[in-house]
């Protein structure tokens, strides 16, 4: 059983560019959450997708947008990149029907903005 997968592993962009990160959830999971983790910090919640809709959103600007596909995979898009967007971007999946929100994480995409 494949766990949560993310691509690409690493990415280098310049300020002002746009980036798309991809995530495939764990088998049987239908909810995908995205997090940003700066070095030495805990994950910061960006948003969560379920049934192809954004259900919750953290304190991130509209430059951060996402999408969920019918097969439950998801994309995170960031426009007009800033230096401060450099971080590890984590995708987590969970089953909606689960009792607890036990989220399983992918390895992350490390984004560097120059």
């Amino acid at each position: 059983d494949a766990g949560v997968t993310q691509s690409p592993t690493h990415l280098i962009k310049t300020r002002g560019q746009q980036v798309t990160l991809r995530c495939s959830p764990k088998s049987g999971h239908d909810t995908v959450s995205w997090y940003q983790q700066a070095l030495g910090q805990g994950p910061q919640f960006i948003f969560q997708y379920y049934e192809e809709e954004e259900r919750q959103r953290g304190n991130f600007p509209d430059r951060f947008s996402g999408h969920q596909f019918p097969n439950y995979s998801s994309e995170l898009n960031v426009n007009a990149l800033l230096l401060g967007d450099s971080a590890l971007y984590l995708c987590a999946s969970s089953p909606r029907s689960g009792e607890a929100d036990t989220q399983y994480f992918g390895p992350g995409t490390r984004l560097t903005v120059l």
Partner: protein, 113 residues
Amino acid sequence: QKEVEQDPGPLSVPEGAIVSLNCTYSNSAFQYFMWYRQYSRKGPELLMYTYSSGNKEDGRFTAQVDKSSKYISLFIRDSQPSDSATYLCAMSVHAGNNRKLIWGLGTSLAVNP
């Protein structure tokens, strides 16, 4: 005041020691409490989750929740060098569609052989 507070450490212990990691929180509505382990440059890995107050044991790991004190702990017995990682607590309110996890900053642990 942050919703979840966690001492970032770093914590350094000899192999075989008992390790105690702690988080405090302010939101009394939190119902689910998780502990994640994160190795360097990897995604967090779910270790344990507990619901409400009490203890839960899994091998060398014990998770403890005291809702009256708004305090959770993770104990690691017979710590091993492979336990060296950052440990993150997370908690959530399970109410309808509100399933957002709130995270601590993480505690960095080094177990020395």
